[in-house]
Amino acid sequence: MEPGLLKSADWPLLIDVYFFLGGIAGGAFVIATIANLLDRQRYRDVVRVGYYIALLAVLPGAIFLIVDLGLPTRFLHMIMVAKPSTEIGMDAITVGPFHLKPLSPMNAGAWALLGFSFFAFLAALDVFREDRGGRSMGALRALAGIIGSGFGFFLAAYPGVLLGATARPLFINAHWLGALFLAVGGSTGAAAIALVLSLMGGEQREALSRLMRFTAFALVVQAAALILFIVAVSSAGSAGLSKALAGLLSGPYSLTFWLGAVVVGLALPLVLQFAGAIKRTTPGMAALVSLLVLVGGFIVKYVIIAAGQAT
């Protein structure tokens, strides 16, 4: 196939930023929920910071998505139109003016964004009440956390599945992009919480140490998904594909990929962690590892999207 004949959506950097923020929001929400369920008192700061980050990260993301539309005033069409057409997809479910298209990750993602925002708002509100000296709605917060975590995972992963459902040569045989984006969501979500905690001061050693432990684990999943993605694309064959992959691994995007996504985003933080950041976490070390993970997490998403859109 001549990849040059295919067209690209030419999504700008704004969309990469949304994918990045959505991953952080989903990851931070899931971590806060798990910490909340396991020991609410002990991990109080992880829960608070996690839920606040989830809400603060998802809100601008939604705005970026709307701004990028050709006709931003029609953003609601993502989930509803006044007079829907009858045949809009093999799997489409239409209820009144609303439509759900499970095979269209962008439509499903819009619904997930809505659902996630709702539960992220509930959780953040509850944490806020507690911060103000009020009482937490314990069971309700737990429930919002559990349901919201489903949406959170979805929010982190769906952009990868969305890319995989395009005709772009780098994406159509990738298969692991959803898994990769989910792992990046986990690592960057934990890193965002750890960065805030390390800057907040106070006794955060245990929380930071556990966050670092989780981050290291998420980075290993991230590395595995990245390798599997490259293997899947390279084993699919065809000239167009090898050209697309070469663009990422040895072509114009290779420096960003190897230096940003691999060295800064994976190798350095993992080395630092196994050299001591997990066992003896200092706020400075945690902040450094978190920054590396956040920068690398953005770059890995950015560079894959850029290489996929260009070739």
């Binding site: 798990i34 990028d68 006709l71 069409h77 997809g89 599945v161 298969h175 984006f181 140490s209």
Partner: protein, 257 residues
């Protein structure tokens, strides 16, 4: 649903006059564009938001005659399983009662997902209207008993319009004829409803293999990936979730402060 309509483009009859391209522009009132030099008579290199029909010119190296020259009037394939239609989050892209694929300009919000989901690079984004556009199969004409403007204008009947089943019969006969005449590579592209994408409602007769015409040998519906990719994502979610539980559970790594 009404009987499925189709367009059949027979490249063996194409003379590269581009009357189809002009007729399409006129009927659909598509604005003029800056010409682009492509190294051949072809203009533009790809479909644009203002060129729904596009005559492509290809050169194929040949041992006997040096170079074989191919002309093909390309258009939206109106796939039976359409990547753009499945991708569209708004439901703006729909299937008409004639089986063709159309974009409702009143619903499209310009997300451009369809642009990257088309296996043939057909759908284009119009920066003036902020919406995605492509060949409409002359939706207004076919609903008023007329064929598409391109088929009407074609002087050699390289582009034919009609009911899909009848056209497919004609196409199969034509390809036999050509093979008897010595065009051993003559083949139909997209006529088979059991083939890739469930068949194309704008199908082609080619004189050489599809890649010579810049067409994918086996176009794939991108949405086929959603199921597997989602399963792999769920697997990663389970791993990451368990990782978080393990990291936050059990005895503290609390050190004396």
């Amino acid at each position: 649903m009404a009987r499925t309509l189709a367009m059949f483009t027979d490249v063996s009859l194409c003379i590269g006059c581009r009357a189809c391209q002009v007729a399409c522009k006129q009927w659909n009132q598509l604005a003029p564009e800056e010409p682009e030099w492509t190294g051949s008579y072809q203009n533009h290199p790809h479909f644009t938001d203002k060129s729904y029909r596009l005559v492509r010119f290809f050169e194929e190296p040949d041992d006997k005659v040096g170079i074989r020259w191919h002309m093909m009037s390309d258009v939206c394939k109106h796939c039976a399983q359409a990547g753009c239609l499945e991708a569209c989050p708004t439901g703006a892209i729909y299937r008409t009662d004639y089986g063709t694929v159309n974009i409702n300009q009143d619903i499209c919000n310009g997300c451009r997902y369809c642009v990257s989901a088309c296996p043939f690079g057909v759908v284009a984004f119009n920066h003036d209207t902020g919406t995605a556009t492509k060949c409409t199969f002359c939706n207004d004409r076919i609903h008023n008993g007329l064929g598409p403007a391109c088929a009407k204008a074609c002087p050699t009947e390289s582009i034919r319009f009609g009911f899909r089943d009848e056209l497919a019969d004609k196409a199969r006969k034509r390809v036999e004829e050509l093979r008897k005449m010595g065009y051993k590579d003559a083949q139909l592209y997209g006529e088979d409803q059991n083939g890739p994408l469930g068949g194309l409602n704008a199908f082609f007769l080619l004189l050489s293999k599809p890649s010579i015409y810049g067409l994918p040998e086996k176009p794939k519906l991108p949405q086929r990936n959603v199921f597997v990719d989602s399963l792999l994502s769920i697997g990663a979610a389970v791993a990451v979730g368990l990782g978080a539980v393990v990291a936050f559970r059990g005895r503290g790594v609390r050190e004396d402060s």
